[in-house]
Assembly symmetry: C2
Homo-oligomer: 199 residues x 2
DNA sequence: TACATTTGTCTAACACTGTTAAATAATATA
DNA sequence: TATATTATTTAACAGTGTTAGACAAATGTA
């Protein structure tokens, strides 16, 4: 009867091994390289037994996503309990969020649908550079300083781009909150940053 | 001799057909459903001839990405030439960027690595909701109003989340500009929004 | 017109993918 | 030891991207 528990523990072990192996493969070769047979190889089994532990490949990804949120929660909670001032707490929490994203790139990717594979040179596209330059130049024009430092223009550009791209991404992935609120946020953000641009 | 050009025109036609068919499939079934054989079916050929027009599947995606940037450039440029005031121009340009993203969701996805397939319920994860609530509550706490309208708290939360997620995404996908500038932007943005939170 | 050459297109195959059913090996139960 | 149960594997299916070789159609050449 005690062996029942031992076996259950072993089963739990290989389940955990599957998840670990998956993440290891992804860290080494990226998400697109993750295959059932590769996972099986790593845990020294054949592919079909994975289906004893997970419904399918998506099941593995879902569990990894869940684990990602668990870690994120821990980190954010931990960061929240350092300072006492609420504003400082909020700042620390977002920084914890940021740090989580880079400490667990693969999980963040999975959780929020951020691909990072297929962009060998997309940046080398003259067309892509051109699009950026349009904004870049206009921002420089808006800045009141005669010759604003290039680094400052760059920062402003990325601030703009980040918030707008972020808002778009969240909406495309999460289907977002209705269009009215989005446009409200969008306009607020743009106006806010433009105001903020010369301080 | 004239037939040479006619044939070249025909070849250019099927090349364009391949791109159109691809985009059509993606709009109907999503990026993960795009396959060479499906494209071939749509243009009434067999798969191997596609390789006469594109090096491989990635080549098709690259060309579609390029086309995306061309359209984006047009839209932004058009938006830039409506008003005369530089600040208003900048605002219009970002709104054009926003509109492009939703008018050409599939292209935007491809250009900036935004997955939108595998999120059936990720939002239903209690763990995911929990992470959001931590921020949600803290923002409410920071807001000076006794009982800030829920809709306002929500907007602030999405503004925060957008800029930070956007900054992260851009860095994960584009490898970004060095870490120093990122942290500069991050801190600026967070402090700026916190300041902006009670106006 | 007759042959040769290039061009266009397809068939068949390879190595891979996720997934399932059936056969086998290992274990526990009687 | 014989039986029943569980663990694991083999074999297969349908799909993927991609390539080589066969075949047909059009072209150029004599």
């Amino acid at each position: 009867m005690g062996s029942k528990e031992r076996i259950a523990r072993l089963k739990e072990d290989t389940r955990s091994n599957i998840l670990d192996a998956s993440l290891e493969i992804v860290k080494e070769e990226g998400w697109q390289a993750l295959s059932m047979r590769k996972i099986a190889d790593k845990i020294e089994y054949t592919a079909p037994i994975i289906y004893e532990y997970f419904e399918n490949k998506e099941g593995i990804l879902l569990e990894l996503t869940r684990q990602g949120y668990v870690i994120l929660n821990q980190e954010v909670k931990k960061a929240m309990n350092v300072e006492t001032d609420a504003e400082k707490q909020l700042e620390d929490m977002w920084i914890a969020y940021w740090n989580f994203a880079f400490a667990h790139k693969e999980l963040y990717q999975l959780m929020y649908g951020v691909e990072m594979n297929c962009c060998y040179q997309k940046k080398a596209f003259p067309e892509a550079v051109h699009a950026n330059n349009l904004f870049y130049n206009k921002i420089r024009e808006v800045m009141t300083a005669e010759n604003p430092e290039e680094e400052l223009v760059c920062r402003k550009f990325y601030t703009f781009w980040s918030i707008i791209h972020g808002l778009i991404s969240i909406n495309l992935v999460n289907k977002g909150r209705g269009q009215e609120m989005n446009e409200q946020i969008l306009h607020d953000a743009i106006k806010g940053i433009i105001k903020y641009i010369n301080d």
